[in-house]
């Protein structure tokens, strides 16, 4: 593939200090020095791919964000940083909304996903594999089709709306401002419901992996020391599952904050998220500098949020 046009690999001049070491030193079991260049040849095609189609585009987008001009006359780099301020002051409500929706969806995913992950890890017994399949299988129906199905489920006068109406819950949610009148579809509730649904597996699988690693004897030990079940959970199980909680929340929050499919299919103009704005600016309005600036702000906001979160949760070594 791209290896054919390989330049005389620059890494060649920089052999790792380890590579000179010769016959396997104690800490590097099995790492044989067949040829110093082997790892670089293995890396070259894939890394070139990522550099050209992932890293380089970021640079292009950075340069696009400081351009001015129009589609007819062409865009030129004018170092017009004001675009950043302009788009932010225009679209900050959508920003706040995206982060809020993503945060709520993440919390809901955690609340819904934890019991299921716990069930699979400790209580499912011989049903474990079947339940795991049921968690993964919905993935295989295109997620757009499944999101469209939510349109049917939440439809006006549908089952969910009827039940909520009978329980007078819609009055409560309307008062809270997350639904409007007699409908659920095209309200924030519907969008958050869709986001929660779509990213739930990304929460459950990491949770399950970290719960499964916990030695069940620890539970027995806690029980033998007269810990009540809930105390066992609070003091033993939950702390040990924290790596799963952290990676699960990240895997849910990041894509949810950038998503525009749920807000588009299940929401209305009042529930537009920042992804919808970026998509519209790029593909309909064709205002590339504004769109590029917006997506950089989104990236920065998410990176900042994730960094703070990782600091707070104290599991930086996770990544």
């Amino acid at each position: 593939m791209s290896a054919t046009e390989a330049p005389p690999a620059p890494p060649a001049n920089t052999p790792g200090p380890d590579d000179v070491a010769g016959p396997t030193p104690p800490r590097r079991r099995g790492v044989r020095v067949r040829g110093r260049l082997v790892p670089y040849w293995l890396l070259l095609p894939g890394m070139l791919w990522l550099l050209v189609f992932f890293a380089l585009p970021m640079i292009y987008q950075a340069s696009t964000s400081v351009q001015t001009g129009s589609l007819e006359d062409g865009f030129r780099v004018t170092w017009h940083f004001a675009t950043y301020w302009d788009v932010f002051s225009e679209y900050w409500p959508q920003f706040v909304r995206s982060l809020a929706y993503a945060a709520v969806a993440t919390v809901l995913c955690l609340a819904l996903g934890y019991p299921l992950a716990y069930l699979i890890a400790f209580r499912a017994g011989r049903w474990r594999n079947l339940v795991l399949i049921l968690v993964i299988a919905p993935f295989f129906t295109s997620f757009l089709i499944r999101t469209l199905a939510w349109k049917t489920i939440l439809a006006d006068g549908g089952f969910v709306v009827d039940v909520l109406n009978t329980l007078h819950l819609l009055d409560v949610t309307s008062a809270l401002g997350i639904t409007e009148g007699d409908r659920v579809l095209a309200t924030p509730l519907a969008v958050v419901c869709g986001l929660t649904y779509n990213f739930l597996p990304f929460m459950i699988l990491p949770l399950y992996t970290s719960l499964e690693r916990i030695d069940p004897r620890l539970h027995e030990a806690a029980g033998d020391l007269y810990a009540a079940p809930f105390t066992t959970f609070r003091k033993v199980t939950f702390p040990l599952s924290l790596p799963g909680v952290v990676s699960g929340t990240l895997l849910t929050f990041i894509p949810a904050a950038g998503d525009y499919v749920n807000a588009d299919l299940l929401g209305s103009t009042d529930t537009r998220m920042i992804g919808n704005v970026i998509q519209t600016l790029f593909l309909r309005v064709l205002d590339y500098p504004a769109a590029a600036a917006l997506s950089f702000i989104l990236m920065a906001a998410i990176l900042a949020a994730v960094t703070v979160y990782l600091r707070k949760s104290g599991t930086e070594d996770l990544i």
Partner: protein, 298 residues
């Protein structure tokens, strides 16, 4: 298994359980009994509720694949019909987009799996200078919101004046699947015992022979998992494709468009078929694995 004499270990838990079970049984007869059972199994009940929430849309998709809608939109139940199942390709362009998606997914899987496996081996088996940089370049695409990646790749293609279509989609899909393959293969290769390869070489196997006969078979489950993941991700991707497809229509894009124009029942048929096929394939793989394990163990 069956002929084993019971050890103290087997007996102990049973003995320990008896008094507690007796206690709970006696309590169950009291009026508060059922409520107590609910409280004890709260996790199971909550978990099953979540499972139901996850499967509900699939059930709806399945039911509505037997609907005969009056208008263009298949959102309200009208009456039962198997029309869509007997004529799954009856709507214009849908099956074309489906086969295009399958082709792209197949090529993207091949590309991402080959490139990703190479990277994974390099990362696990060798020490070299740029490791940290390589690791973060692998991690970033997974931590980046899809819109940002999609939009930036689009600006690159626009700047280079590339014609959008099959190739731009394929390039984009290989790019974002690559990291997932690397992660999956890495996990497997890391748990591999390197002494197996040394043993092969001590038995005078050449590097190629060692790789084909020892390394590759052991790494195969990880590579297969990575490939499966890549296929699923590529086949289902909408956001990145939406930005980099031009006027080419993949299956997710067809579904997206139909949400605006009117959704044919056939979409539900395809959705249901995908679900059923996936469940059957996974079940078959599971049964096969269990039988093999039993044969080896027996």
């Amino acid at each position: 298994m069956s002929t084993r004499t019971p050890t103290p270990r087997d007996v102990a838990p049973a003995a320990r359980r008896t008094p507690r079970d007796a206690a709970s049984a006696s309590r169950a007869r009291k009026p508060g009994g059922p409520l107590r059972a609910v409280r004890r199994n709260l996790v199971v009940i909550a978990g099953i509720c979540t499972l139901a929430y996850m499967i509900l849309p699939n059930v709806v998709v399945m039911i509505f694949s037997f609907n005969k809608p009056n208008g263009r939109f298949n959102y309200e139940w009208q009456r039962f019909s198997t029309d869509a199942w007997t004529d799954p390709c009856g709507v214009a362009d849908m099956c074309g987009s489906l086969s295009l998606s399958l082709q792209i997914a197949a090529w993207a899987t091949l590309g991402a799996t080959v490139l990703g496996t190479m990277i994974a081996f390099a990362l696990v088996r060798y020490r070299f200078r740029a490791r940290g940089a390589v690791n973060s370049l692998i991690f970033l695409p997974m931590a980046m919101p899809e819109v940002v990646m999609a939009a930036s790749l689009m600006t690159l293609f626009l700047n280079m004046g590339v014609q959008f279509g099959f190739w731009t989609i394929l390039i984009a899909h290989i790019m974002f699947c690559l990291s997932f393959v690397v992660t999956a293969v890495k996990a497997r290769v890391m748990s591999m015992d390197p002494r197996l390869e040394q043993a092969a070489q001590d038995l005078y196997a050449g590097p190629v022979q060692t790789f084909l006969r020892v390394t590759l078979p052991i790494a195969a489950p990880g590579i297969a998992a990575g490939a499966l993941l890549a296929f699923a991700l590529s086949f289902d991707d909408f956001i990145i494709t939406n930005f980099n497809a031009g006027s080419t229509v993949t299956f997710p894009m067809y579904v997206w468009g139909s949400a605006q124009r009117g959704t044919p029942v056939q979409i539900n048929v395809i959705g249901t078929a995908m679900f059923v096929v996936a469940v059957l394939v996974v079940l078959a793989a599971m049964l096969l694995g269990r039988r093999r394990k039993r044969q080896q163990g027996g």
